[in-house]
């Protein structure tokens, strides 16, 4: 169930715009932040807030890269596989992440800390090879830097309780 406070915030936002569905992405992102991902329950709640059918919202949810319809870890690593990062070391970045975390693209670590996803050019070609961690950019990546980033992320947040 959506907490009343979040529901009211979203309802106020929606009331301000000309057409509720204009805020479909914002609503999905808010629900995703609350639930950790856009669960079936969240999708239904979002659709009802926006005056859409769940199927209409699903059509959008599955279209976008940054909407997660499946559970993800506390940190989502979006590794850029654009052509510039590719030529400057995308594969070694993936190999390093596999060494450290034991996951391949599309997978989540057993402790629920990290999910690894490939993504289209993130627009940090001047810092390639690059990745986003929960939207925050890092680059140019080296094995040492990756080590350091992962260590700091683990220190900042303990593993979440698994809900799956």
């Amino acid at each position: 169930m959506l907490p009343d406070e979040l529901r009211q915030t979203l309802e106020t936002q929606i009331a301000k715009v000309e057409q509720p569905r204009e805020l479909a992405v914002d609503v999905m992102l808010s629900l995703q932040r609350h639930y950790g991902y856009l669960s079936d329950e969240a999708l239904e709640e979002g659709a009802s807030l926006l005056g859409l059918t769940p199927l209409e919202l699903e059509e959008l949810a599955t279209f976008y890269d940054f909407i997660y319809r499946e559970p993800v870890g506390r940190y989502v690593l979006h590794v850029c596989d654009g052509v510039v990062c590719w030529m400057n070391g995308y594969d070694p970045v993936l190999d390093t992440l596999f060494d450290k975390l034991g996951i391949r693209p599309g997978e989540t670590t057993k402790d629920g800390m990290f999910t690894l996803l490939p993504t289209a050019c993130i627009g940090y070609c001047d810092l390639s090879p690059a990745m986003l961690v929960n939207g925050r950019p890092y680059g140019p990546l080296t094995p040492e830097k990756i080590d350091d980033i992962l260590k700091r992320l683990r220190e900042t947040a303990p593993p979440p309780k698994l809900t799956r």
């Binding site: 569905r21 059509e59 279209f63 995308y90 070694p92 050019c121 094995p143």
Partner: protein
């Protein structure tokens, strides 16, 4: 890099800090808006921009003033403006830089465009990877509103206009104008063919003008300094203004640099990009992002403007120069690009949805030693099919492939005859 050229768009660029409203105003910011609201009619603003020959910087190069003029005098209200900072063209990062350099230039440019078409509401469309830019723009829009540059009765002129940031969920096709309009309305972001044009029926069937951010930031300067000054900024006769060129790939100093339109490619790569990395030699580049052609070596000194690249059967695109060296396999590079386009295709029309994966499959086989000579005509046929697709996405997607076959055929043949990648596959570098 110290550049010998005047910095217009990047005049307030500072290391690791954005220009504040005060700094922007000290450099002449919002003067153009003040002048326009006092002295010029919307038609006059359109004419200034037409006279300045401001070509759209998103890739197509369509004159911005003419686009604005296509909004009919008696067109209904509300009218909408969309400022596109959804750049997802591989190699392109100028919009992100600009939002971090001088956000008020983007805001003023957008307000001027809004005035020119009598629009009352605007959106800045931002991709999720640029959440920082979205936050900056939201904050600075609030500051501009507080200062009286946005909202009701701007500078007591009677003109009202407001601007909001719209966040995308992240998909390349949203950069295409009509797809972006659908995305903004909360619909699946598929492109829309004209007629009607967006300037006639766009957002919620109302007149909508969509411009690339880089196009709009030129407008305050055109108003303040005049069309003749603007045209003279370019190095070439048919171009005008400056350009934010991005340089990336196998160069020493990847980055975004403001140079006169029509600056030679060699100068951009060597003077700004710092030349190729030690041990690397220039093989080719994509001069304007992923949807352009691999450049032939003989065109290394091409004048980087719309006409210059057209002359060598290429496109300026976004002006994002991606440099490849002699150690990088172009078949593997095109395979990477094709993976990108297959994933990002909206899937709505058949030539794009079906031809691109087919091409990817053939390329994968060639790269992995399973290629045959007969694949080459198949690749050409499939590329030709993409020209029948609904929007410009698929023809753009096949440009790197067609130019690989035209300009670097020996690389493809070598893969096929040696039954392996002569370069050892995907580059294994992380430096």
């Amino acid at each position: 890099m110290a550049t010998p050229y005047p910095q217009v768009l990047f005049q307030n660029r500072k290391p690791n800090r954005i220009a504040t409203l005060d700094e922007y105003r000290q450099s002449g910011g919002y003067q153009a808006l003040t002048t326009v609201l006092q002295k010029h009619s919307p038609r006059e603003v359109q004419q200034l921009v037409i006279d300045a020959n401001l070509q759209g910087r998103g890739g197509a190069g369509f004159p911005a003033g003419l686009k604005w003029k296509s909004v009919a005098d008696d067109a209904p209200h509300p009218r909408y403006i969309i400022t596109n900072i959804d750049e997802m063209e591989p190699g392109t990062f100028k919009d992100r830089l600009m939002a971090h350099v001088d956000p008020h230039m983007i805001i003023e440019g957008t307000i001027l465009a809004a005035y020119a078409v009598s629009s009352e509401k605007g959106f800045i469309f931002v991709r999720p990877s640029y959440e920082n830019s979205a936050i900056i723009m939201e904050r600075e829009i609030a500051i501009a509103r507080e200062a009286g540059f946005l909202g009701k009765n701007i500078l007591e002129s009677g003109f009202s206009f407001d601007l909001v940031v719209h966040r995308s969920g992240g998909r390349y096709i949203c950069g295409e104008g009509t797809a972006q309009i659908n995305a903004l309305m909360g619909k699946r972001a598929q492109p829309q063919q004209s007629p009607p044009r967006s300037t006639e029926k766009g957002l919620w069937d109302k007149p909508t003008v969509l411009n690339n951010m880089e196009t709009l930031i030129n407008v305050p300067h055109i108003v303040r300094n005049g069309p003749e000054w603007f045209k003279k900024l370019a190095k070439t006769k048919t171009a005008s203004g400056t350009k934010l060129y991005c340089v990336s790939g196998r160069v020493n100093h990847p980055g975004c640099y403001e140079l006169p339109m029509g600056t030679r490619l060699g100068e951009i790569i060597e003077e700004c990009g710092g030349g190729l990395l030690p041990g690397s030699e220039f093989k080719t580049c994509l001069p304007g992002g992923a949807s352009t052609c691999f450049l032939e070596k003989k065109d290394y000194d091409v004048e980087m403007d719309f006409d210059g690249l057209k002359k060598c059967r290429n496109r300026l695109g976004t002006g994002a120069v991606i440099v490849f060296d002699q150690k990088t396999c172009l078949v593997a590079a095109v395979l990477n690009l094709m993976d990108f386009f297959v994933r990002e295709s909206c899937g709505w029309c058949t030539p794009c949805r079906e031809a691109l994966p087919f091409i990817r499959d053939l390329l994968w086989r060639i790269e992995n030693g399973e290629g045959k000579e007969e694949f080459i005509p198949m690749l050409r046929t499939m590329s030709a099919h993409t020209w029948k697709s609904y929007c410009a996405f698929a023809p753009g997607a096949t440009m790197p492939l067609s130019s690989l076959l035209d300009n670097f055929p020996e690389e493809v043949h070598e893969h096929i005859s040696q039954k392996r990648c002569p370069y050892g596959g995907t580059p294994g570098r992380m430096e």
